[in-house]
Symmetry: C2
């Protein structure tokens, strides 16, 4: 059978007969920097989210003692924000584990291909979870900012400004962490590609 | 320098001195099945989304001719649903391109590693986009189903039942497509891993 011809053509250097003389590419430092970035952004997003409690005194138009009413906005009032909180907590835990793993690999010339494969799989999963959490909170935050006249959902950000700023910042920072994880997938798969036959 | 020892140990078969005698693994058929699944699910999600228009006659309690009012719910009333629509359209286009590419690779014994690397990168991106769209529409659909007493956002699914069913089904099917894309990333990276030195 001659079916291997096409394949051999794509990787002529593998048939040289000698063990690989050059070291495989090692993107350990870039990997660690990206993982630290993901860790820092998820931690800051979580802190901003948890400290988003906002208490406002709203004038009612009635005479005293009913002239004003105190209302508060907390992150646990919306299921979408609770989902973001859980996703961020999982991402922080995952970041810590992978940073420790990344540091322990520093002494090696290159991580094993099995580790790279596992990193691609779990980074993709984490990126998917964070992306869906970003989307869910983003749409609720947009509703709070603009409201929706078709469903009579009034905007709330004109009252709870601090709360909305915190939720919005947290969403943007989570988006940055998601992009960091996608870049990690690209890096790991590029590393695997450079080491493929 | 003796730093390559650890690396060589992980892949002893590559130092055999001979050109690879076994064919590289080819998951073309599984890849094509998964891509067809992603295509079918995104198309059905888009169709369900576009046909979600619901017109309801709501009793107002006033005497005739004001006894009832006709209200409709359409997908373009919510920015989150429009985002899902655009994401689905992009995913369908992407699916068609990759299915054609996948078929054209069928004659080869195995796809080149460069193609596998590119597939991982773009599949991850598409999965991220679909995941965020699923999250954004999911949270809005949940608001429509349950409402939110803290923000006085009343539920709307008790009135527009057909609309909510369509949006909900579309979200679930999009989630299935996202999982399909993540499985494609796993498959491509496994294929790359099996061909790594």
């Amino acid at each position: 059978m001659n079916t291997t011809t096409n394949y051999d053509k794509t990787a002529p250097e593998s048939g040289g007969g000698a063990a690989p003389s050059t070291l495989p590419p090692n993107f350990f430092r870039l990997d660690l920097i990206l993982r630290l970035f993901v860790f820092a952004s998820t931690v800051s997003a979580l802190v901003v989210l948890v400290t988003s409690k906002d208490t406002e005194t709203i004038a009612t138009g009635f005479p005293p003692p009913f002239a004003s009413v105190t209302r508060d906005a907390k992150f646990n009032y919306s299921p979408a924000v609770i989902y973001l909180l859980v996703a961020l907590a999982v991402a922080i835990l995952y970041s810590i584990i992978t940073i420790i793993g990344s540091c322990s690999l520093a002494s090696r010339p290159a991580p094993s291909t099995k580790i790279l494969f596992n990193l691609i799989v779990f980074d993709t999963l984490m990126a998917g979870i964070l992306a869906s959490a970003t989307g869910s909170v983003g749409s609720v935050a947009y509703l709070g900012l603009r409201g929706n006249t078709h469903t009579n959902w009034n905007k709330v950000c004109n009252v709870f400004g601090k709360f909305c700023k915190h939720i919005g910042s947290s969403t943007v920072v989570t988006l940055a962490a998601t992009i960091g994880l996608i870049l990690l997938v690209v890096l790991s798969s590029y590393s695997l590609y450079r080491r493929s036959r």
